[in-house]
């Protein structure tokens, strides 16, 4: 039995020194050793140059934070899917970490955080501004399957419409909920929503002044 255990451990678990190089990662940038900032490949400045070369005049603004290996760009709403397709297929940013909808009262923003495993720890922040009257943006779920629930959550809580989303339903709130709670103009002083058919087990005596709640 002890011998069996050893074989299992050897076959199943490897440490980083002996770990197999995942060959399925992006073809263009082969997997580097996982040391932070080890090569020019993982540099955000290189990514910015590549983006500007492949998609000229798409990037409206850009900023680089070298310490965090982060590139931040702002693109127009119509260019988002084009940029994301290029990032996923050619620039090997495989992982959509997070989609954040922001209510700026005058307009909306959608902030996309992407990450690269093969150019680690390179990460990218894409900001897309949406006009106040038209809170819609094209869905990136066909590109990044992991964006599915993030977009559903953004729709549920902020009311952003993701066009082309395969299954845009509410996710955290029930289907019959009205309004989008994370909006800044969402009213708070409303009757609390109750789950249908709820019957209180007992009533607290003593009126509004508190009274005996030890029931």
């Amino acid at each position: 039995m002890a011998g069996g255990r050893k074989v299992v451990a050897k076959r199943r678990v490897t440490t980083s020194a002996a770990s197999p190089d995942p060959g399925h990662l992006g073809a263009r940038h082969s997997s580097k050793s996982g040391v932070a900032g080890s090569g020019g490949d993982s540099s955000p400045e290189v990514l910015l140059e590549e983006l500007e070369e492949l998609l000229p005049s798409v990037i409206l603004r850009s900023a680089v934070r070298l310490q965090k290996h982060e590139l931040r760009i702002k693109v127009g709403r119509d260019d988002l899917v084009r940029v994301c397709t290029l990032l996923r297929d050619n620039l090997s940013l495989e992982h959509c970490t997070l989609i954040t909808p922001v209510d700026w009262v005058t307009h909306w923003s959608c902030v996309y955080h992407l990450f690269s495993y093969s150019r680690r720890p390179l990460n990218l922040e894409i900001i897309v501004d949406l006009p106040r009257a038209e809170p819609w943006v094209d869905s990136i779920t066909p590109l990044y399957a992991g964006a599915n629930w993030h977009e559903r959550e953004a729709y549920d809580l902020m009311g952003i419409d993701f066009r082309g989303h395969p299954d845009q339903r509410r996710i955290l709130n029930p289907d019959w909920w009205e309004g989008h709670p994370l909006r800044k103009d969402y009213t708070w002083d409303m009757e609390p929503h109750k789950i249908g058919g709820f019957v209180p087990l007992f009533e607290i005596k003593g009126g509004e002044s508190g009274g005996n709640t030890n029931l």
């Binding site: 197999p20 995942p22 990662l25 996982g34 970490t97 992991g146 709670p181």
Partner: protein, 367 residues
Amino acid sequence: MAQMWVSMGPQHPMTHGLWRLRVRVDGEIITEADPDMGWLHRSVEKLTELYEYPFNTIFTDRLCYASPLTWSHCYVAAVEDLMGVEVPERARYMRVIVLELQRILSHLMWFAAYGPDLGLFAAAVYGFREREDFMDRIQELTGQRLNYNYLRIGGLKHDFPPGWTDRLLETCDRFLPHLEEYKGMCENNSIFRMRTQGVGILPAKDAMNLGVTGPNLRASGVDYDARVDNPYEAYGELDFPKVVATEGDCYARFVVRLYELEQSVGILRQAIKQMPDKGKYRARAPRNGPKCDRVFDGTGVARVEDSRGEAMFYVIGQGNEYPYRVKIRSPAYTTIGASPVMLVGSRVADIPVILGSIDMCIGETDK
């Protein structure tokens, strides 16, 4: 044969929390799965907009009952990024120690819950026995057994008590022989391996595209660990191997977590050894955050390796003591979103095995 929908949850031993899984079955085989979330939604993101920066650790502590410290750490790291606070060196090592202690507690909690999913009740008894030893240490440190409230913006609440690190090392020494017991109990157990090997396979390509992170991703063969590859706090100054498996099935996910317990003990020992003896445990943090210029500045990001994957906070400031927007990235949320890929094609009896192996926490998922 006619297909039918079966509803599991929201109160079901399989769910490890409060959520509902709808599966469509064709006989015993699952053909479609639809997780239904939101039963534990407490609107943490909205609440954090109403309270000042330091007070929000109360909510972030309650995001996950199994690892409050890592969630609070992720939040304070994002706020430190937002405010530009430099954490003292001793505090960075102290944070690594408490974070790894929290990871051990969380993984032991998962081990103790995963055994009963497979009918191996001994795992629950063994797991909680060792967890109790570590709980005593964290209780000595923070005074609590749940929701420790120990992280502060700029550092920690207070210094370690005298002799605490020595007692923690003794606990680690006591724990490692028990870890061998776990390995013997599961790896040499043919029933356990029959239930888990080849079940719920998640290929690496799908795992990356679906946004699965952490131990579940490493079990699929992608050797990414934020502590090594994108280091934060003092992890960059420590030397430890990543735990990677290649199969991507339930057994691989189990083995990765089991060996991460060993890895965490190694990090603990190293960090205690390298920690500076003297120094500040907290830096002074400003009360107000900067104002976001609506383009790039005035935002804070933190990506950390939570026990369940890559946790992330994205905080936007508005120039006063309240955050304008706080966004939480929960690793379990995307992993549950990816669970239909693992479930489809499996049998109904494998549902608890697969969903137990991804180690979910509904508190952080529903926010």
